[in-house]
Symmetry: C2
Subunit: 357 residues, 2 copies
């Protein structure tokens, strides 16, 4: 078993007692940090930043140098996997991600192959190994991927979408094709996440950013079922410790019970569900991660502290809570507010935990 | 009591027995119809279309000439009210609505006045009277408005928003200011909706498009509380008939019980909640309107029919269901699919209702 000075995250994700609530932020290595913007400028563009292990490592560690966070999360993008599947990812200036070759025909679905993570996504594994070495025994490193449905929406739409018309049209008209696409993506993601664990990732998170745009029936069919397949096929132990898995469906507050039954260790919760209510609904099956509205960080330090207090009180006493935002931090946030949030969690959370001997 | 040949909508909204499930579509007078696009081109721009009663009447009636729908809904825009409050609404080409004078300072909130619906929004009332006259006794006319919170987001942001950063920053930092804004908007909307009833609207709907981006606590405070104030202050009877009120919070599936307790007659439900589950949760307090995923209409006629069947079966037997989409129809939909949907509701719904003598 590897040494780890701060194992609060791993313990909380397994609902083991902790002295205080661990905290990290979705997109903590990001544009709200001037040092991130400087590194990105040096890289030239976002994709080069993702694909250069030294730079990805550098930005991954930046938030930890500023704030006493309890986890690092790999700096990467969920769309590196479809990129490695040959779709040709690029970022149009100010327009978000695009694919040169969207997947819309039967032929293009059939042509998709599962990329070898150690070669076609070797830059990610190199980044994981480098970050892990640089992190040492400070805090654990979280690896991640997008959910199959979320990736499929980008792959079919060719980029971001407001209404997911093409992806949903495929779902209604050619469910066989969508399921074949989801199957291939699921196998790719399973290999990709297991390779991250082999490279040194100590926890995993699946981001189902667009599961919340589905009806309950379709959510179970095209999103949850495939996440469950991944969870079942993941390496759950590595280097003598459990590798906890977090599932996060944004907008999935109505489906927490179903998510909790998937076999994962923890659920991400957005701010549209009370954490205490979420806890009552999932019982002791999973830990919960969240759920401060990212917009709270536009407020004063005093506001941030007050809202942190509410989230902690809503979850209540006992283990199983990882403090986080309910979605990624916005680029316009003042880093001082993040400092206020992290401090508030450190100061206010011990009262909810029994002293650990 | 006025004559009405087709009172299915009014009966269903009051949970009275009907022989079949009534149906209409959110945004049924819209860009998916070539005749709408022709009228809009004649008008020159969207705002002129809204502000010219003859043209607003013309497009309101267009979908009824094509499909046997059970209701007309006033053609207008939720932002006409802030426009009448002096914010200067305009539509930048391909960019959605914008305000020349957003409301961001204490002074600008204090300067807001409640517009007189019969003068500053006289063109809406003229359109209601004209539509009502042209409709005759065919089907009822639904009047509508945006919810106070939804309008406040546009007023503070100055237009559409992805993250509602400014509106939420005001909510966290200057709740007094936001509540003052919401109070003024609430008084404006109450007068506006009551004027629509006086002009001839036979049912009312409040569109809370952005309530779903709030935490449960804030939703109750800044959205639901103000919708409830409106519901309590509305004329609920006119021309000898009840004027049913429908509340619709998009993304509000977790708060249906709270919405149902507001005193409204019916709830709009988006496609992210099973209608049958929604019905179990709200019991017999309200009728339910919805909830086909608008993307189903990208599918074949056969797909549309199959999905309509599922929505009807999910609601189940008995009164209290108005068939609709879970959100507005997309501009790219083939009108033939709408025909397929309306036909399917007419053919498949009678089995869920006892024959009416």
């Amino acid at each position: 078993m590897y040494a780890l000075r701060n194992d609060l995250l791993l313990r909380a994700l397994q609902r083991l007692p902790v002295a205080r609530t661990p905290v990290w932020l979705m997109r903590q290595a990001g544009r709200y940090l001037p040092e991130y913007r400087a590194t990105r400028q040096r890289a030239g563009d976002f994709l080069t930043l993702c694909k250069t292990p030294e730079l990805a490592c550098e930005v991954t560690l930046q938030p930890l140098q500023r704030f006493p966070l309890d986890a690092a999360i790999l700096f990467s993008d969920i769309l590196t996997v479809p990129d490695a599947m040959g779709l040709g990812l690029y970022f149009a200036e100010g327009e978000g991600p695009r694919f040169q070759r969207p997947v819309r025909s039967e032929a293009s679905v059939q042509a998709l192959a599962v990329p070898d993570p150690e070669t076609e996504l070797g830059y990610v594994m190199a980044a994981v190994r480098l970050i892990r070495r640089e992190l040492g025994d400070r805090v654990p490193l979280i690896g991640f991927a997008g959910s199959p449905w979320t990736l499929a929406t980008y792959m079919v739409e060719g980029g971001s979408s407001h209404d997911f018309a093409r992806a949903k049209a495929m779902m209604f008209e050619r469910p066989d094709l969508l399921h074949r696409l989801l199957d291939t993506v699921t196998r790719a993601l399973t290999a990709y996440l297991n390779a991250q664990v082999a490279a040194g990732a100590q926890a995993l998170m699946l981001f189902d950013t667009w599961g919340g745009v589905l009806s309950p029936e379709r959510y179970r069919e095209v999103s949850l079922a495939y996440m469950q397949r991944i969870v079942e096929a993941l390496q759950r132990e590595s280097e003598g410790r459990r590798v906890p898995v977090i599932l996060f469906t944004k907008g999935g507050g109505q489906w927490l019970e179903a998510l909790a039954a998937s076999g994962c260790d923890a659920l991400g919760v957005d701010w549209c569900t009370e954490l205490g209510e979420a806890r009552r609904r999932v019982g002791d099956r999973v830990a919960l991660q969240g759920n401060l509205d990212p917009c709270v960080l536009y407020g004063s330090a005093q506001t941030v502290r007050g809202e942190v207090a509410k989230v902690l009180a809503s979850y209540g006493a006992g283990p199983g809570h990882v403090f986080n935002l309910g979605h990624g931090i916005h680029p316009g946030i003042d880093p001082e507010r993040v400092a206020a949030m992290v401090t508030a969690v450190a100061e206010l959370s011990p009262r909810y935990h029994a002293p650990v001997p």
